[in-house]
C-alpha cells in the first residue's frame, strides 16, 4: 500500500490534497466537513484587514455543455471577524490534530504582520501562507498581487514575517507577472520555507452583449476578476515547472486540479502537494473520493511507495527548445476500423496545417495521410474525436540525435530563407490557384 502522507517544508498532512484558500475554507464548519470527507489539509480563507464584499461575485466560462471550465471572481479576503476565525482554527485543530491547517494572511504594515502571525500561531496553525496573489480589489490597496509583482517588496514582507514566525511560511505567488521565477527567488531570499502557486489570473470572463457590461454584473457595472479552474492548469503547470527547475523551495501546486490525474501531473513537475478551489466550489468536498483511490492506484501501478519517489519525475524531460532532437520524426496514421468519417482531421490539416491529408474519391469517408507532406504536427490526432484513432507513429530509427544547440555549435544552422538548411525548403505546398477550384 503506497504511503500518501505528505510533508511540505515540515507541514505534515495525511495526504497531499489541501483545500486552497478560498470560499471552501471560509469557516470551521467547512474545514471540518472537508477533513471528515478525506481532505488532508486546508489553507484558511485569507485573514487580514477588514473588507466589505460585493454581491454578485463570480462569472463562469462554459465550453459547449461543459460548465465552469473557468471561474472568475471578484471576491476579496475574508469578511468574517478575525476573532471568529481564530477560534474556529483552534477548534478544528483540536478535532484534527494530524491534519494541516494553514492560515493565509494579508495585511499591510510590519506591525500588523507581526501581530497576525502571532495570533494564528497561538490559534494552533501548522503553517502560514502569505497571499501575494489576489489580482483584484486588494491590489488596488497595495496588497495581494501588488506585492507579488514587486519581488523586492515581497522579499521585505517575507522577512518581516520570518522575524516572528516559528511555523513554516509558504509564499503564495501571483501568475500576473512575466517571469514567475523572480518572485519565487525573492521568496527564497526572504527566507520563506515554501512557495505555492498559482493564485488567480486577471481576467474578464465575458460581456453581457445586450447591456454592454462584463460579468459579473454589479449594478450595471463590473471590474476585472481573477481566473481559475480547469482552464488555468496549463499556465500553472508551466509556472510550477519553472520554479521547480530554478528555485530550491518546496512547492504547493495550485490551479485547475479536479482529479487524481491533475494532481499527479503537478507532482511529476515538482510539486510536493496540491491545493484545490474551483473543483470543490463546483462539486463539493466529495470529489476527494475519486482523488485518493486514483492516486493510490496510480502509485501502485507505477511502483511508487511514497510521494517523494514520484516528485519531479518529469522535470528532467522538460528542456529548452534548442535541446530537442531535430532528427525525431513522427507521422500521422489513421486506424480505418475506428474512423467514423467526420473528416475533421482532413479539414484541420488542409486549412490549418500542411495539406497532408487527402479524401478518397468514391470510396469510404476515411481520409488518407500523405506521408511525404506530413510534418508530424499532431493537429489531426488532437482534433480526431475518437480515442486512439489517429496515432503518431515514429519513422526515424532513433539512432540519431541532433539539436539546434549542437547545430549552432557546429555552425550548421540556416542563415537566410534560401539556405538549403532551412526547415521549410523543399516542402511541398499546392499552387495558390489550386485553391480556387476547390
Amino acid at each position: 500500500m503506497p504511503d500518501l502522507s505528505s510533508n511540505l517544508a515540515g507541514i505534515k498532512s495525511p495526504n497531499p490534497f489541501w483545500l486552497a484558500s478560498a470560499p471552501p475554507t471560509n469557516s470551521g464548519y467547512q474545514v471540518m466537513k472537508a477533513f471528515d470527507a478525506g481532505w488532508g489539509g486546508a489553507v484558511w480563507k485569507t485573514l487580514g484587514v477588514p473588507v466589505v464584499n460585493v454581491s454578485s461575485r463570480y462569472g463562469g466560462v462554459n465550453y459547449r455543455d461543459s460548465r465552469l471550465v473557468g471561474l472568475n471572481n471578484i471576491e476579496l479576503i475574508t469578511d468574517r471577524p478575525l476573532k471568529d476565525n481564530l477560534e474556529e482554527i483552534e477548534e478544528v485543530k483540536k478535532h484534527f490534530p494530524d491534519h494541516a491547517v494553514i492560515a493565509s494572511l494579508m495585511v499591510e504594515t510590519r506591525e500588523e504582520w507581526h501581530q497576525i502571525v502571532k495570533d494564528v500561531e497561538n490559534a494552533g496553525s501548522d503553517g502560514i501562507e502569505l497571499n501575494f496573489g489576489c489580482p483584484h480589489g486588494m491590489c488596488e490597496r497595495g496588497m495581494g498581487s501588488a506585492v507579488g509583482q514587486e519581488p523586492k517588496v515581497l522579499k521585505t514582507i517575507v522577512e518581516w514575517v520570518k522575524e516572528v514566525a516559528s511555523i513554516p511560511v509558504i509564499v503564495k505567488l501571483t501568475p500576473n507577472i512575466s517571469d514567475i521565477v523572480e518572485p519565487a527567488r525573492a521568496a527564497k531570499e526572504g527566507n520563506g520555507d515554501a512557495i505555492s502557486l498559482i493564485n488567480t489570473i486577471q481576467s474578464l470572463v465575458g460581456v453581457d452583449i445586450d447591456n454592454f457590461v462584463p460579468y459579473p454584473v454589479v449594478d450595471g457595472e463590473s471590474t476585472n476578476g481573477g481566473y481559475c479552474g480547469p482552464a488555468v492548469k496549463p499556465i500553472a503547470l508551466n509556472m510550477v515547472k519553472n520554479c521547480a527547475q530554478n528555485v530550491d523551495l518546496p512547492i504547493s501546486g495550485i490551479g485547475g486540479i479536479e482529479n487524481w490525474r491533475d494532481a499527479v501531473e503537478y507532482f511529476l513537475l515538482g510539486a510536493t502537494n496540491v491545493q484545490v478551489c474551483t473543483a470543490v466550489m463546483h462539486f463539493g468536498f466529495g470529489i476527494i473520493r475519486e482523488m485518493l483511490p486514483g492516486l493510490e492506484n496510480y502509485m501502485k501501478e507505477k511502483g511508487f511507495s511514497n510521494l517523494e519517489e514520484m516528485k519531479g519525475k518529469a522535470l528532467d524531460n522538460v528542456k529548452t527548445w534548442e535541446n530537442l532532437n531535430l532528427k525525431y520524426k513522427v507521422v500521422a496514421e489513421i486506424d480505418e476500423e475506428k474512423c467514423v468519417g467526420c473528416q475533421l482531421c482532413y479539414i484541420a490539416c488542409e486549412d490549418g496545417a500542411h495539406q497532408a491529408i487527402r479524401l478518397k474519391e468514391n470510396e469510404n469517408r476515411v481520409p488518407e495521410i500523405i506521408e511525404e507532406n506530413c510534418v508530424g504536427c499532431n493537429l489531426c490526432s488532437i482534433v480526431c474525436p475518437i480515442e486512439d484513432c489517429i496515432t503518431m507513429e515514429r519513422r526515424d530509427d532513433g539512432s540519431e540525435n541532433l539539436t539546434w544547440a549542437q547545430r549552432t555549435d557546429a555552425n550548421d544552422i540556416p542563415t537566410t530563407f534560401n539556405d538549403e538548411k532551412a526547415g521549410g525548403i523543399g516542402h511541398w505546398v499546392p499552387k495558390p490557384t489550386d485553391a480556387l477550384r476547390k
Partner: protein, 440 residues
C-alpha cells in the same frame, strides 16, 4: 412476422440474440462518463438496490482510473458486471437520473458499470481485502446471486465458506433464466470465475441439498447456513391438456434455451400465457428463435400487466402480439399442442369475471406458461423453525435470520421473485447479519 430466421448455428443464434446493451468501447465510455454531472446525494444511487456510488464510479472512469471504478462498484455489488447488463435500469438508476427531468437522455449507467468491471475481470484485478480467517464455517445452499454475494461478503469478513449448488453452473437464474440478448453465458460465468478466484469460497456443483439428512449434516458441520435457493418450477395451472407435448413452463424452457441455444425446438405458432416480465421474455425469445407468430395472452388489460413497459416494448418490437382480457380454459390437442381455448374476461368492480359464451379457439403448436414459479415449500418444510408467509416466502428478521434458527436467507426465496440486483443486495446484507449473530 418472420423477422427472424430460425437459427441453425451458434453464429445465427448470436445474431438473433444480439446484445441490447453491448460492451462500450473506450470512446463511448469516455463521452458518456463526461456527461455525468456528479450530482450530490445522487438520485441514481438512491434508486440502486445495492446503493452503488454511481457518480463516483463514473467520475473514476472519466479520469482514467478504471480499476478504482470497478472497486467502487464491487464494494457495493458483487454482481456488478452482470447487473450492468441485466438490471432493469429504466426503472432503477437510469430512470432516476436527473437528465430525465429535462428530456435529455439519461446517463447509460448500466453499460458504464459493465465496462468498468469487465476490465477488472479480464485482468483478474485484486480489488478486495480479505480479513484474516476467523475459524468459523458457513454453508450456503444455492450459488445464485444471493448465495454468491453472501459468500463473497463472508469471505471478506474472514469466514470459511462452502456453497452447495444443485446445478452444474453458478449464478442461478442469471445464466439459466435471464434473456440471452441481455447477457451471454460466457460473460456471466467469467464474473463467477473471477469472484471464486478472488474470494476463495468452495462451490460443490451438482449437489442438491434435498433431504433432512443433508440438512442435518450442514447444521452439524457449520456455524450458520444461508439459503439462497430462489424459486421452484413453473406453477401448474390445472387446465385440461396441460400435459400435452409442447405445453411448457417458461422458466424450464428458457433454461433449456440458455444451455442449448439454437438446438432447442420452438413452435411455429406460439401462445404465451401471462403478463409478467417472464412472459415478455418468453415471447421475445420465441420470436428470435424464428417462430412465425407469437401471441401474448393476458387475463386483464395491458395496463395491468406486471411487466415493465420497456419489456413489453421489447416483445412488441420483435413482433409479439398482445391478446388481452382472455383466460385459457383448455389446451387443445392430441399428443401435441394444437391450440388453446380461451374465454373472454371483464373486470367488474375489483373482480375478474369470465364472460359466458365468449369462448374461442386459437390454433398454435406451442404453449408457454409464464404464470409464475412455485415456492420451495417442500424443501423448507424439512427445516425446523422455518416460517413462511401466505405466499410461501421465507420470513426473516432485519438481519436476514430465520426466526431463532441458525439459518439465514435472501433473494427470490424471500422476496418472492425480484431482480438479480435485489438478490445480490440481500445476500450481502445477510452476510453482515451472520457476522453479527456469530460475533455476539
Amino acid at each position: 412476422m418472420g423477422e427472424f430466421k430460425r437459427p441453425e448455428t451458434e453464429q445465427e443464434f448470436a445474431d438473433n440474440f444480439s446484445q441490447i446493451k453491448p460492451l462500450m468501447n473506450e470512446t463511448e465510455a469516455y463521452y458518456e462518463s463526461s456527461r455525468c454531472l456528479f450530482c450530490y446525494d445522487a438520485p441514481c444511487q438512491k434508486a440502486c438496490p445495492t446503493a452503488i456510488d454511481i457518480p463516483l464510479f463514473i467520475r473514476q472512469i472519466n479520469s482514467g482510473d478504471v480499476t478504482g471504478s470497478a472497486e467502487t462498484i464491487y464494494a457495493s455489488n458483487y454482481f456488478g458486471n452482470a447487473c450492468g447488463k441485466v438490471c432493469p435500469t429504466e426503472v432503477l438508476c437510469e430512470g432516476a437520473c436527473v437528465y430525465n427531468e429535462q428530456n435529455v437522455k439519461p446517463i447509460e449507467i448500466g453499460r458504464l458499470q459493465n465496462f468498468a468491471t469487465k476490465q477488472a475481470i479480464e485482468e483478474n484485478k485484486n480489488l478486495f481485502s480479505l480479513a484474516p480467517e476467523n475459524g468459523k464455517k458457513i454453508a450456503i445452499v444455492g450459488a445464485g446471486p444471493a448465495g454468491v454475494s453472501c459468500a463473497c461478503e463472508l469471505r471478506a469478513l474472514g469466514y470459511e465458506v462452502d456453497i452447495f449448488e444443485a446445478k452444474a453452473k453458478p449464478s442461478g437464474l442469471t445464466v439459466h433464466g435471464v434473456a440471452p440478448y441481455k447477457i451471454e453465458n460466457e460473460e456471466v460465468l467469467d464474473e463467477m470465475e473471477y469472484l471464486e478466484k478472488q474470494f476463495g469460497y468452495r462451490v460443490t456443483y451438482n449437489s442438491p441439498i434435498n433431504s433432512e439428512e443433508d440438512l442435518r449434516k450442514l447444521e452439524e458441520g457449520y456455524d450458520a447456513i444461508f439459503l439462497g435457493i430462489g424459486l421452484g418450477n413453473t406453477s401448474v395451472l390445472g387446465l385440461p391438456g396441460e400435459d400435452l407435448d409442447n405445453c411448457v413452463g417458461a422458466t424450464e424452457l428458457i433454461e433449456e434455451l440458455r444451455m442449448n441455444h439454437h438446438q432447442i425446438k420452438i413452435g411455429n405458432k406460439v401462445v404465451v400465457l401471462g403478463g409478467g416480465n417472464t412472459a415478455m421474455d418468453a415471447a421475445s425469445e420465441s420470436a428470435r428463435m424464428g417462430a412465425e407468430s407469437v401471441i401474448l395472452s393476458y387475463r386483464r388489460g395491458p395496463e395491468e400487466m406486471g411487466a415493465y413497459d420497456f419489456e413489453y416494448d421489447l416483445a412488441k418490437g420483435v413482433g409479439a402480439q398482445g391478446l388481452f382480457n382472455v383466460q385459457p380454459v383448455e389446451i387443445l390437442g392430441n399428443g401435441g399442442v394444437e391450440g388453446v381455448r380461451f374465454t373472454r374476461t371483464e373486470v367488474v368492480g375489483n373482480e375478474l369475471r369470465e364472460i359466458p359464451g365468449s369462448e374461442f379457439e386459437i390454433q398454435c403448436d406451442m404453449v408457454i406458461k409464464a404464470t409464475g414459479q412455485l415456492k420451495q415449500k417442500d424443501f423448507l418444510n424439512m427445516i425446523a423453525g422455518v416460517e413462511m408467509d401466505d405466499g410461501g416466502r421465507i420470513s426473516i428478521d432485519s438481519s436476514g435470520r430465520i426466526g431463532s434458527t441458525k439459518y439465514f436467507a435472501g433473494g427470490d426465496a424471500v422476496n418472492g421473485g425480484a431482480e438479480v440486483v435485489n438478490a445480490a443486495a440481500e445476500g450481502k446484507e445477510a452476510a453482515q447479519g451472520i457476522h453479527q449473530y456469530l460475533m455476539e
